[in-house]
Symmetry: C2
Subunit: 399 residues, 2 copies
């Protein structure tokens, strides 16, 4: 068997459970005879190319164990898109640190990185085993039922929309609407997760805008009006990446003349909700608010779903077991065995397939009007987000 | 003793624990012989004037008990500023529902309402006992050490800034700053609470902008640059109501020409953070994000501090005990007996004094540069927000 050191990197945006995967990989590496030392890349492949490598064997075991519940990317992350020119330097570093086992935790760009580095090394006669561990709050990774990190971010979204919906209901004499924006540019999994907040017909959310469906201003305003007529208030959840039919982002210009020259899109992707807010305010003159939490939904360690931690950790361990058995060029995947009771197992997906692109929500998960999710979608989401807290409502018998 | 019904109302913005006060009042009323029925105003004094009154005695005891951990304002709330013309109608309703005990949970406007209604009734020869229960996430109420609801909102802020700070640190190769905006127009207690997130020198937050100190664009940008030079990233927390020395809100216009015609102030108070974002981006060209959570920090029941629930509940009970003993015209207050260990007791403050105005942070709680809080402030805040979760950091020994 191939003997050498292992190296681990984290890539792209953090999640609430990405460190649980890191913990799983480190602990599993330490139990493998073929792996001598367990190293970490600081700031992903970018730091690695600069030789910024740490010895994870020098960390206290209790620090490694505590990674399970520590948010963000403990190794530091990057968004470096790998270029052909990078390969010689990467190989040089792999040789320098005697790396034979190569693990990255990330999304499709990250899987592409592993895939290409591994292929390059093969052409250079350097034996390297590379295995990917999935991660993204957006849940748009191909080859797996879902990604570790998504359930917990979905939980943050659903909790926020549920609590803010109760507030909006109780404050409807003051404010008439609330808009919550989620991250996730091209797939609507996170805004969809908000639907789990709804247990009664008048509960938030009332309208969910998904990047998978074109945004139509008139239809949206009519939907808002209908909810307002029915409930006295309206809850809207939108993905940051919603676009008009012609592909123009809702976040950019063209809604009112006032904003037409403002590059909201470049300001952090926070503007779809603001534009919707502006539309409602202009059309109806109501008071309301928009909420843009940005990366808070990617690091809320106190709102993670325990099952998500468990899966993230298991994916990390499995990556090492596969690698130690000589398996290379795959990403660990999660296979859903059943919904109720929820059961899952681990599988693998070829890196080449995962690297190809993002996975949008299927049509069967979106209602005909394109403004909410279906029962099938809720069934898919429920075990990932976990049960939400139950709050009471007064029956309100007139005196 | 005066016999009759009691009525309870909730006013202004919700908190995570305002229903715990409601629970305390209801449960205490049900144990008082002088109180026949316990009624609730739907949507505060505004609903009351319309006769929207419910019988809280008809709610299941387990529903009342569960109010302790249910966010938002279960009775519904309003922001009605009482007018002299309202008094006859209010008296008519008090008589109709035979109300002799009158409890409102709210801030200074609410205390003013109780005070004036009670005074009017006296001039009309209608005997009414009115007691106020403090509430506001802003903590700007006079006559009490702090307000129920503040500690939990402060906890939401501190948790968010802590988690997002870890993320920003780990992502500093991608994004260089993060700006978190809190609610609280005229007092900086909530942005100040973010300081509890800091345990190491490079932890978030680095800069806290308080409404109590004038905003200076050049000084702010220099502060941001200094943090960026030192840490590679920068965390800023700002109160929504920060203003320039001449009183102009940071949230409004005049930062760049682009925005000069846009009424951000009227759009929900979400714009101070966006303006700061725009300033940094324009000055340094960095990438970064701003986070505007708005009412989410007022209703996050899963992030309440248990001590805050306990105090909110106790304030509610005490209001009833006072009223049943004939005490009127006061608000229940919290008296801090000691900091470490934290001990508190209940007192009272005359409604007339509380109604007068908002309580800003004292000078001793703000550092000389006006961009952070002092150790004395942290000592004040710590027991209210409670201990924050501890997360680990890798020691990062080079390989």
């Amino acid at each position: 068997m191939l003997q050498g050191n292992a190296i681990i990197g984290q890539s792209g945006g953090p999640t609430g459970v990405i460190n649980a995967s890191l913990c799983g990989i480190i602990q599993a590496c330490q139990g493998q005879k073929v792996i001598r030392r367990t190293l970490g890349m600081r700031f992903g492949i970018e730091g690695f190319m600069q030789g910024d490598v740490i010895d994870l064997g020098r960390e206290k075991p209790e620090t490694i164990e505590a990674l399970r519940t520590t948010p963000s990317s403990a190794l530091g992350s990057c968004r470096h898109k790998i270029k052909d020119a990078d390969f010689p330097r990467i190989l040089e570093m792999l040789k320098k640190f005697d790396v034979r086992y190569y693990f990255l935790i990330g999304g499709n760009d990250t899987m592409d990185t592993i895939h290409r580095v591994e292929a390059y090394c093969r052409t250079q006669g350097y034996e390297l085993i590379g295995v990917g561990v999935p991660k993204t709050v957006d849940n748009d990774l191909c080859g797996t039922d879902h990604t570790p990190g998504f359930g917990s971010a979905g939980r943050y979204v659903a909790m926020s929309v549920k609590q803010a919906g109760m507030l909006a209901r109780d404050m409807k004499r003051v404010d008439q609407y609330v808009i919550f924006q989620t991250v996730g540019r091209s797939a609507g999994w996170l805004p969809a997760a908000a639907a789990l907040a709804k247990t009664a017909e008048d509960d938030a959310p009332h309208i969910i805008l998904l990047p998978e469906r074109p945004f139509d201003r008139e239809r949206f305003l009519a939907d808002v009006k209908r909810c307002h007529d029915r409930y006295g208030w309206c809850s809207v959840v939108c993905g940051e990446g919603v676009t008009y039919a012609d592909g123009t982002p809702v976040s950019a210009s063209s809604v009112t003349d006032k904003f037409s020259n403002v590059e909201f899109g470049a300001m952090g992707g926070t503007s779809a909700a603001m534009m919707l807010h502006q539309m409602i305010k202009t059309a109806y003159g109501w008071r309301g608010e928009f909420q843009v939490c940005e990366s808070l939904q990617m690091c809320a360690a106190d709102r993670v779903h325990p099952g998500d931690i468990e899966e993230a950790y298991a994916c990390g361990r499995r990556a090492v077991e596969l690698a130690a058995n000589g398996v290379s060029g795959v990403m660990v995947s999660i296979v859903r065995e059943s919904n109720d009771p929820y059961r899952w197992s681990l599988g693998t997906a070829p890196l080449a397939d995962v690297a190809l692109g993002a996975k949008p929500m299927p049509d069967a998960y979106i209602n005909g009007e394109g403004n909410f999710v279906t029962a099938a979608c809720l069934e898919y989401l429920r075990p990932l987000v976990g049960p939400l807290p139950e709050y009471v409502r007064l029956s309100g018998t007139p005196a």
